[in-house]
């Protein structure tokens, strides 16, 4: 039909007003750019969280003392002190598929060497802990089962703690005083970075749990137990059996709540990634608002231009344009502006996300789907916000339009 003429006409009209066309498209450029950049930040954060979850180790089940009551109030993981060393031993002995178990106690404390002080987290663990978390040493050696049995004053420290207390010196073989007690540093861990919750995992001192209970923390209960099973298929049955075993050992009658919490790695990953998924959605939604604002900008400019070009429309109608031709022309103008804006916006968004990851070291991940969606959305914005002004133009009466001052 007359469609290709309409393209020619709209193209000429846009070229006639280059500056205005550019400014109109700018709203969409910023909107689409923001969507692409924001979604890439959200996706980058999600990917990082997933990587951090993987750093927990493979096929891991975590048991915490304390539980969620039936009324939904959580007594706090690790707060109630219901897990015993014997519980860990029982799991080691009785649950099939279990390959490693580490008793865990946790505290924070001031540590010092020479005149350097540092406040850090103290973890009491079994030697298996390093296997379960897939956390090798960069220097020295881990403590032994013998150290656990004898509650020896030995420890392994994280990279952050090492540099804070010992600076550039090698900590291995040196003495670290924890609550005044001298511990021999046997090894330094490889750096692991931030946890999903955002804490520095390398700011840590890990010692035999027996030493921690006897010499640093006191008390006889565990905060938790880390368990590793041999394959993902073992996770669910092992989790089930651990729950039954612990209920039995803690004499919990049927119908009463557990006084402990069992979580497998997948559940933890689910919780953590859902947070970052919400963040991605939120960022995308905020950026979409600017895209809508850009669309309103198009509508505004198109309405102004319909008024301003009333005489032009009158001339077109006089020389034989149908209302439909005017409608198509203005719609094509709007959609052209918004889709060119969309394409430039994609380039801007990609550049922005590259810059963010290069300069600000934010993790970003560009997804093809966000690019496609942003482009289609920008074209749709053009149609949606261009339609009303275009219809106004198409309805003009030729005589009145020609007489318009």
């Amino acid at each position: 039909m007359r469609f290709e003429s309409s393209f020619k006409i709209a193209g000429r009209a846009l070229r006639r007003n280059k500056m205005r066309s550019v400014l109109t498209a700018l709203g969409i450029i910023i909107g689409v750019g923001a969507v692409i950049a924001m979604v890439s930040i959200g996706n980058g954060a999600k990917a990082q969280v997933e990587q951090q979850i993987a750093s927990l180790g493979e096929n891991v089940i975590l048991i915490f003392s304390g539980s969620v009551t039936s009324s939904g109030i959580r007594t706090g993981w690790g707060s109630a002190g219901t897990l015993k060393i014997e519980d860990a031993d029982a799991i080691r002995r009785e649950v099939p598929g279990v390959t490693a178990v580490s008793d865990e106690v946790v505290s924070t404390s001031q540590v010092s060497a020479g005149n350097q002080n540092w406040f850090t987290r103290i973890y009491g663990e079994s030697p298996e802990y390093f296997d379960i978390r897939q956390w090798p040493l960069s220097d020295g050696a881990i403590f032994t089962p013998q150290d656990v049995r004898s509650a020896n004053k030995v420890c392994v420290i994280g990279r952050t703690t090492a540099t804070q207390v010992f600076g550039s010196e090698s900590p291995v073989g040196q003495v670290l005083r924890i609550k005044g007690v001298p511990f021999l540093v046997t090894g330094v861990l490889t750096p692991k970075g931030l946890s999903p919750q955002g804490t520095d995992q390398d700011d840590i001192v890990i010692m035999p749990y027996t030493s921690a209970m006897k010499r640093v923390i006191g008390g006889t209960t565990l905060r938790g137990i880390n368990v590793q099973v041999s394959s993902p298929n073992d996770l669910a049955p092992a989790q089930q059996q651990i729950t039954e075993l612990l209920r039995q050992r803690h004499n919990i009658r049927p119908g009463r709540d557990d006084d402990f919490t069992v979580r497998n790695q997948e559940e933890i990953a689910e919780a953590a990634t859902s947070t970052s998924r919400v963040m991605t959605l939120l960022l995308g939604a905020i950026a979409s608002v600017s895209l809508v604002v850009g669309g309103i900008g198009i509508m505004n400019i198109m309405l102004v231009s319909v008024t301003e070009r009333t005489r032009e429309i009158g001339v077109r109608l006089a020389v034989g344009a149908h209302g439909r031709d005017i409608l198509t022309q203005f719609l094509i103008e709007a959609v052209t502006l918004s889709s060119i804006g969309g394409i430039i916006g994609i380039v801007v968004g990609l550049t922005a996300s590259q810059l963010l990851s290069a300069l600000a070291h934010w993790p970003t991940l560009i997804s093809i789907s966000s690019i496609v969606v942003a482009f289609l959305f920008s074209a749709a914005v053009g149609i949606f916000f261009g339609f009303y002004p275009a219809r106004e133009a198409a309805r003009l009466d030729p005589i009145e339009a020609l007489r318009y001052e």
Partner: protein
């Protein structure tokens, strides 16, 4: 069709405007025949209904009552789009204020009616046609000038070229020299007379008696009716081909 067949034929045409309570009878029972090849000037005091009549003749508006036959076809009952097609194919408009698209070259302005025509032409064909017509109004070499780079007379020539591009039956001009000085007006009249010599029918509104004598027939309007309608006794032949 015979050469003296009426291109334009109005039968008891009325046009009444309703603005709120007030009723304005702008055209009250005009019957008129204009044969092919005529050159008609419509005169009359302000408000006598000349522009209203021109809008009816130009199919920009529909009569309240009466019949309008254009080239033998009754157009009084056609809808918006059908009227648009008639305007595109059979009519050419020249306005007092030129009404060229701003920031658009002379060529593209002239091509405008072709873009809404029946034929699908390539850009090259459009340009070719527009160049030819521009040359007939004496503006060869000004193809790429924008309206702001042309004098009033030159702009009006571009507008005439635009009116000519679809080979219309009738050219309708409402005060085409209203914005021009007398010398330029004479040039435009010269072009009109040339076109008329080629057989194109021209209907024009003017306030100036000397411009009216360039036509072959003068119609005087008063209060929406035709008061007098007579041939021009001493026709003034304007010099043309001046640029």
């Amino acid at each position: 069709m015979a050469a003296n067949h009426a291109v334009v034929s109005l039968e008891e045409v009325h046009k009444t405007y309703h603005t709120g309570e007030v009723e304005v009878r702008a055209v009250r029972g005009v019957s008129l025949g204009i044969a092919r090849g005529e050159f008609v000037a419509i005169m009359g005091s302000s408000g006598s209904g000349k522009s209203t009549l021109m809008n009816l003749l130009g199919c920009l508006d529909r009569p309240t009552s009466g019949r309008y036959l254009l080239d033998g076809e009754d157009v009084s009952g056609l809808d918006r789009d059908q009227l648009a097609d008639i305007r595109n194919q059979k009519l050419g408009f020249v306005f007092q204020s030129f009404n060229l698209l701003p920031r658009t070259s002379a060529l593209e302005n002239i091509e405008l009616p072709l873009l809404y025509g029946r034929q699908r032409l390539t850009s090259a064909e459009l340009e070719e046609k527009a160049r030819k017509v521009l040359a007939t109004v004496g503006l060869a070499g000004r193809e790429d000038h924008h309206p702001s780079q042309l004098s009033g007379g030159q702009q009006q020539r571009v507008a005439i070229a635009r009116a000519l591009i679809n080979d219309p039956e009738v050219i309708l001009a409402d005060e085409p020299t209203g914005n021009l000085d007398s010398r330029t007006s004479a040039e435009i009249m010269g072009i009109f007379q040339q076109l008329n010599d080629r057989g194109i029918t021209i209907v024009m509104v003017t306030h100036e008696a000397d411009i009216a004598t360039c036509a072959k027939r003068n119609i005087l309007m008063r209060d929406g009716t035709v008061q007098s309608d007579e041939p021009v006794a001493h026709r003034f032949l304007a010099q043309s081909n001046q640029t």
